[in-house]
């Protein structure tokens, strides 16, 4: 489903601020893989998702999604393959537009937009049902501005937007990190439900080691722009946090350092 080969990216090359964010990253995802991603500060996790999304072009390497080489495809074109949810709840929606309008835009991801109605009547019913599955009481607020929702509600709506038009690949960039623990758990539960029910191929960055072990069928750890630990199946299910830290230290030769992980025990 996803094939990343020898991906490299250096920010501010040739200056004192030069930072190699991706250093020959290789990663292959099978159809239906639900992969959790953890790593220290500046390991290249978000950079990887941005590269897949096409926010900028990599310096070297290729990205294939479902057999299509998207390395040089502009961001809005490859959006047809991707569903994305970001860390910042403000980032995933248009705040001054209605919930229904946001969903209407998302439902047409990957299609050519024309001068016909942006939301059909039948769609409103469909959105209502989908919002009801979130169990956040949003099903009767189709015409509310998204800006009026709480952070958790927004992330849930963004999640719906990302998956409304089934993506080949779902990219979750610490999408619960900005929420309080209770809300984060709820959003994560919704995420898991949507991903498993639709059998979506998913990359989920998280700073919560417990979540990284509990969710998904595969776990990767990144360090200095590369994947250094890759466990899946039974082996992953049996992992404990101390084992995970040990794996990391063995593979990287350094101690695991991520402020958020340290603070989120």
């Amino acid at each position: 489903m996803l094939k990343i080969t020898n991906l490299q990216k250096t920010f501010n090359p040739g200056t004192v601020n030069a930072k190699t964010a991706l250093a020959g990253l290789d990663l292959t995802l099978k159809n239906g893989d639900f992969v959790t991603v953890i790593g220290g500060n500046g390991a290249g996790k978000s950079t990887m998702l941005n590269a897949i999304s096409g926010v900028w072009k990599p310096d070297y390497g290729t990205i294939e999604i479902d057999g299509v080489d998207v390395t040089n495809m502009p961001e809005h074109k490859r959006a047809k393959f991707l569903g994305r949810v970001f860390q910042d709840p403000m980032m995933g929606t248009a705040p001054d537009m209605e919930i229904a309008e946001n969903l209407g835009i998302a439902a047409r991801r990957g299609t050519k937009r024309k001068l016909r109605w942006g939301i059909k009547k039948t769609e409103r019913e469909e959105y209502k049902k989908l919002l009801a599955t979130l169990e956040l009481g949003l099903e009767n607020r189709l015409s509310s501005k998204v800006g009026l929702l709480s952070g958790g509600q927004r992330q849930a709506v963004t999640l719906l937007m990302a998956t409304l038009n089934r993506p080949k690949l779902l990219l979750l960039d610490e999408h619960t990190a900005a929420l309080d623990p209770k809300t984060a758990a709820k959003v994560l539960e919704i995420t898991n439900k949507i991903v498993t029910e639709n059998n979506l191929t998913t990359l989920m960055i998280t700073h919560n080691m417990h979540d990284a072990i509990e969710y998904g069928n595969r776990l990767i750890m990144m360090h200095e722009g590369k994947v250094i630990v890759d466990v899946s199946g039974e082996e992953k299910k049996k992992l404990t946090i101390p084992q995970l830290l040990e794996l990391f230290e063995k593979a990287s030769g350094s101690e695991f350092a991520n402020d958020k992980v340290m603070l989120s025990k």
Binding site: A79, G92, K114, S150
Partner: protein
């Protein structure tokens, strides 16, 4: 009494500039771009209309070509900004400067072209203000209806989202750059239509028409929205508010002239009005916001309203 005499004229002019302000609303409020090319494109609309009328063309054709000329100016600004990466403000200034030369060329090197109001079949003219108000009102009403419908279409919705959040728009497969160009074309097309009406109303097109138009447009927007947002914060209501803002602006304008202010100072007055409207909300939050008392149970809330 003198004031009542100038009132119909003030309303006519206010309607025309209100229409222009709707164009500015699309770039400034919807696309979130301060587009300075409107100073040029309103004049382009006036020049095209006047010159084509002098050439004996039917009025509807003159206005249509004026709209297209304005839209083209918007495309130019859009391409400067998106394809060449020039900051939006500067892109608008460049287009404005280009349009000054273009407008002179349209006027055939003259600084003013008069419309022969006896031979041309005009939609509105200052000699008949009641009719001017009706004509301008009808054009504005149809413009608002068309825009209202347009912003509910697939394309229209993504133009709104482009201005609100380009990031998520791209993630949802929206060509943000193309949308900015389309939006600026629509905006400047409407501005040029207002220019065409202005030329007919005044019976002439002048190379200096439209200098400071952006400021008048913004003033109309701020005055209008300060009222309409309180009544009903939706799209149509906002546009009607903007038209109202244009009228209020021209009534104030005429009132100040009657009070004896030298017309030389009017541009400064416009700028001061806009500066005030921009400054007041800022000053309010900066200096006049009282700290609220801390409510009991003010812990790390938010957990229950997921």
């Amino acid at each position: 009494m003198a004031f009542l005499n100038v009132l119909p004229g003030a309303i006519s002019e206010g309607l025309i500039w209100g229409l222009m302000a709707i164009g500015v609303y699309i770039s400034y409020k919807i696309l979130d771009i301060a587009d300075l090319s409107v100073d040029g494109s309103i004049c382009t609309g006036a020049c095209v209309c006047a010159v084509m009328l002098a050439g004996g063309n039917p009025i509807w054709l003159c206005m249509l070509v004026a709209i297209l000329a304005g839209a083209l100016a918007g495309v130019l600004t859009g391409l400067f900004h998106t394809a060449l990466g020039i900051p939006a403000i500067l892109a608008g200034i460049l287009t404005q400067l280009i349009l000054y030369s273009v407008n002179l060329a349209i006027l055939g090197g003259k600084s003013l072209i008069a419309i022969d109001i006896r031979s041309a079949d005009l939609l509105l003219h200052m000699s008949n203000n009641p009719m001017a108000i009706v004509s301008a009102g009808l054009i504005i009403a149809s413009t608002i209806v068309v825009l209202w419908l347009f912003f509910y279409t697939e394309v229209g919705l993504t133009i709104k989202s482009t201005g609100e959040n380009p990031h998520i728009s791209r993630a949802q497969g929206v060509n943000v750059n193309l949308n900015k160009v389309i939006g600026l074309a629509i905006s400047n097309g409407i501005v040029a239509l207002a220019g065409a009406l202005l030329a007919q109303y005044k019976g002439s097109a002048n190379i200096n028409d439209g200098r400071g138009a952006i400021v008048i447009g913004l003033a109309a927007i701020f005055i209008g929205l300060s009222v309409s947002l309180k009544i009903k914060p939706n799209f149509v209501c906002s546009l009607i508010g903007v038209i109202g803002g244009g009228i209020v602006y021209y009534i104030i304008y005429n009132f100040v002239i009657l009070l004896g202010l030298k017309t030389d100072y009017l541009k400064m007055l416009s700028a001061i009005i806009v500066a005030l409207f921009l400054a007041v909300p800022y000053l309010k939050t900066r200096y006049f916001t009282k700290q609220k008392p801390i409510p009991i149970n003010a812990g790390n809330g938010g957990g229950d309203n997921a």
